[in-house]
Symmetry: C2
Subunit: 248 residues, 2 copies
Amino acid sequence: MSILLKRGISRDSGVSLGDQVKANLRSRILKHEWDSGAKIPGEFELAKQYGVARVTIRTALRSLETQGLIDIRHGSGAYVADFGDSIRAGLQELKSITQTIKELGFKAGMLTRTSQIRAATKSESIDLLLESDTKVLHIERAITSDGEVVAFSYDTFAVEGLTTAAIKKISTGSVFAGLDAVDKQPVRARAEIHAISSKEIGWGSGKPRNGLYLQLHQVHYLRDGKPIATGDTFFVEGKFQFIIYRTI
Amino acid sequence: MSILLKRGISRDSGVSLGDQVKANLRSRILKHEWDSGAKIPGEFELAKQYGVARVTIRTALRSLETQGLIDIRHGSGAYVADFGDSIRAGLQELKSITQTIKELGFKAGMLTRTSQIRAATKSESIDLLLESDTKVLHIERAITSDGEVVAFSYDTFAVEGLTTAAIKKISTGSVFAGLDAVDKQPVRARAEIHAISSKEIGWGSGKPRNGLYLQLHQVHYLRDGKPIATGDTFFVEGKFQFIIYRTI
DNA sequence: TCCTCAATAGTTGTCCTACAACTTCAGGAC
DNA sequence: GTCCTGAAGTTGTAGGACAACTATTGAGGA
């Protein structure tokens, strides 16, 4: 059984205490438990709140500082960085797009247009380090927020090692869960951003007339550095706001 | 006089030991002292190398991990994340563009088109929290890499509190040095990315025919949260590669 | 009254030691 | 060859101590 500390932090969940505290503090900050610019409790106080050592709190705080969420001042304390709500859609935490939409309070949806297993194209085989003609899972979807199309997504997965159950999960929308089920969770991703104007992209009534998109070309990697998925997401310009926040 | 520890780390430079170690390790990683995916020395070994405590090394390592440069594995060690050279142009460290160009080994240049003090426009006064009609310094420049135009930049600075010497420094290219001279160094910035297609932007022979740009709209803030500068940089699509790397 | 400055309490930064939890690898049993 | 066990090495967490810095308070002087 799990040894529960305070505030839902547990000792044998497979995640380090520091990371758990970090996630918890992060969510408290994003929920506006403290105002922007306000001082959060001191390290000793937090250590008491969470029932962990001060060094554990420090690792969490330093990480949040590096992410730009707080500002630590020697001899004074840690203060919430003030960027209003924009943090939530920050590029540094480009997780699942649907999750970001949900966190912003909208209703996220997906419309799958095609989902098939076919031979990899040349560029896909390069990104995924596969022999050309290897079978891959290719999915084309439109992502909606409150029913309005905000992006078109063309994703490709290396199917080697994927079970049919996992493929089904991925196809029906939950990419994360599908990969997790076969222990193929990506731990890192690399993305390039481009501006593109094209009539070839998108479909249906959500397709913008000017054909202007912000293209995000991504490759997702496993812990051992092997690529597991690649894809392009085309954000309809103006429908989705990208924000970077940074410390100098 | 400065108490020198090992590897150029000093005890009274006004910068914390952890941050100094972090900067030093970061530069060692970017200089490829270790191969991608290779294991860097252990915490005890690094502590001995730098002449500081293990906890100091840990804060530096955790920060580098959050930035995505290394991958720390419990019970094993810290490994250099493998993204080739792309890290150097990462969006997370969107410092001066010219500096990025230099780090990539190209020759950076600037062509100033206009530089004047005039009344703030409506959008500028909103970004900088000024009364409209307040005087601001506005500069329009083209940024070049090896002589080729890669971006057009339209920047605006709040002149209140700036000396004429500082304004001159900013106008002649070194924005950073100019602001530093009057102790108005920005510590944080917020940026939005957009795709834009426009014939109004850019000038001269470097202006792309298709008018396609990646627009970066930025506002720079001082430590106390006050905005000091704002501006738009329009990157000519295809001339400059933006890369995001992230951990999940 | 207002300003200056020193004392003070509170907070983060660094150091030390110790042990727990995890990974890796070598060597032995089968 | 394969599997298992144990040892060694590494990171994670704990606790205590002091240094360095900040913010506040209050006394003293103009």
